[in-house]
Amino acid sequence: MEVQKEAQRIMTLSVWKMYHSRMQRGGLRLHRSLQLSLVMRSARELYLSAKVEAHEPEVSLQPARSPDPRLHPPREAEAEAEAAPLDGEQPSPEPMDTQEAPRAEEAPARGAPRPAKVSRKRRSSSLSDGGDVGLVPSKKARLEEEEEKEGASSEVPDRLQPSPAQAEGAFPNLARVLQRRFSGLLNCNPAAPPTAPPACEAKPACRPADSMLNVLVRTVVAF
C-alpha cells in the first residue's frame, strides 16, 4: 500500500512537471520530457506490480469517477488550446505513454494470464457499473476494442523496454486517457490555429488546461 501510494504520488508529480515544462521559456525540452515519461512509466509499473501483489479489489476505482460532461468540453477546448503551442516536431513524453498501452496489450505472453483476465473482467463490470464511464465514455469503447485487436495481431518491436502485461491488465484507463489526451494533441488537430503569441494564449489556455490537469490528477488518483 505504501508502495502504491508512493508510486501514485510520483505519477501525479510527474504529470504536474510535464504540464509545467510546457510553460517554460525556451519551449518543451525533449530530454526532460523523455526523463519525466521514464519516471512515469517506472511509477506505473511499480504501482501495478504492487497492486497485483496486494490483490486489491477494484473498489478503489469507484470514488474517483468523473462525470462525463466534465471530460468532453475540457478535452475539446483544451486540445485546441494546447495544440497551438505544440509544434509538429514536438515529440513530448506522451508518445512513450501512448505507445505502451497498445504495446502492453500486444504482449500477452509476457505477463501472467490472470491479469489479462482481470482486465477483461473488470472492464465489463466497470462499464456496467458505470464506474469508469467518466474515464471511458461509451462512444470510445468500440475504438478501444479495435485497438486491442490491432494490437494483438501486430508484433512487438523491441525498442522499448518490455513492460509487464499486467501493466495493461490492471491499468487500462490511465493509459487510455493519457493516450487520448496526448495523441489528440500530437496528431495535431489541423483545425487548430498553429500560431499565437504566448502572452495571448496564456489566458484562454489556462482554464481548459487546468481542467485537463484536474482530470489527469483525478485519473491517477483513481487507482
Binding site: I10, G27, L30, H31, Q35, P85, Q99, T195, A196
Partner: protein
Amino acid sequence: MNYPDESTYGNKADIISTVEFNHTGELLATGDKGGRVVIFQREQESKNQVHRRGEYNVYSTFQSHEPEFDYLKSLEIEEKINKIRWLPQQNAAYFLLSTNDKTVKLWKVSERDKRPEGYNLKDEEGRLRDPATITTLRVPVLRPMDLMVEATPRRVFANAHTYHINSISVNSDYETYMSADDLRINLWNFEITNQSFNIVDIKPANMEELTEVITAAEFHPHHCNTFVYSSSKGTIRLCDMRASALCDRHTKFFEEPEDPSNRSFFSEIISSISDVKFSHSGRYIMTRDYLTVKVWDLNMENRPIETYQVHDYLRSKLCSLYENDCIFDKFECVWNGSDSVIMTGSYNNFFRMFDRNTKRDVTLEASRENSKPRAILKPRKVCVGGKRRKDEISVDSLDFSKKILHTAWHPSENIIAVAATNNLYIFQDKVN
C-alpha cells in the same frame, strides 16, 4: 593535492552557464543566462608586482545572444549561452564560438590601441568639414589611444537545429566544427553559414518510439575524423566520419552493464550522461552522470577503467531530488592539463577533484564566507553516517540551490575556474 589560492570575481547579474579557458590559458570566457559573454585576461606577471601572480581581469564584455521569438512555433528562444568554445589563435585577434539553444555565433575579439588622426574631410570629432575651408592636404596618421577591446560577430550559424543545442566542438582541423542537439549533430565549415552537413541523426521515424537523446558531443583532440557523443541512456558512441557521410552507425559503443544492486526507481534518469570530454592525450574519455564520473579507455568498450563517486550519499535521496528537480541537473567535468586529475561540481557549492594516480580525492567549497584572497582552501567532508564530526556537514544540511555545474581547468597550469551560480571563482595553485 593542491591547496589553491583564490581570487573571486562576483556579483554577476545573471547565472553563469558556461566557463572555458582558451588554448593558452591566457583568456577565460564565461557565458551567462542573460546571453552575455565576459572574457577575462590574465595579467602579465611583472617583476614589480610579484604578489599579483597573473590574476584575471575583465578584458571584454559583450552581448552575444538576445532573446528571440520563433513565430512559427510560438516559442521563445532563450538567450542563455549554453557553450563557449575557443578557436586556436592564428593571428592577433581571438575567436570564439558561442551558442544558445538554436544559433551558433563566431565572435572576433580584437584590440585596438591606435586610431587614425588628421583626416582631411572630417574634423577631430568626426563632423564633416566645409570643403571651402580645406586648403591643405595631409595624410592621416595612426596615433596611440587607450586600449579598446572590441567584439564583433563574424558569422552567424542559424536555422540548423530543430531541437535544443547542447554542445559545440571545434575540430582539430580548425576549419570545421560540430553542433549537437537532442537528436542531431551537424558539421559546419567556419566560412559557410547557410548550410551544414548532418552527420548524426537519431530521430526515429515514429517519434513515439523515441527512447534516447544525444546529451553531449566532442571531437577527438587530434584525429579530425573522430568524434564521440553521449546519450541519455548512459552510452557513448565513437564515430569515424571517414566511414560514411551519415555517422548513424558507430565505430565503437561504450556501455557499462548496469549493476543490479543499484537498480532503483530513478536508475534510468541518473544514468543519463551530462558531459563527455576527451583527455588531452586523446586516449581516454571522461563521462559524468548524476552520481559518478567515469574514465573510459577508447580501446575498451565494455566498461570504464575508472569510476569515481561524486556524491553517492545522494543515492538514497533521489526521490527528494526528483521533487525539487535537482535530479535533472547537468554537471560538467574537466581534465587537468596532464590528464592526471579530474574535476567536477556538486551541491552546496562543493566541487570535487580526483587524482587518477594516487586515487586520492578532495572536496572543496567555493564560497565567499569560507575564503579570503590568498587563503588556503580547506577540504570539506560530507557526513554520511550517524556521528557528525565538527567540521563535517550532514547531507540534510546541504544547500541544493548552490550547485556547481560548470568548471574549467587551465590547459597547462593549476588554475581552475569554478562557476557558483552567479559568481565566478578562480583558484590558483600555491607557488612552492
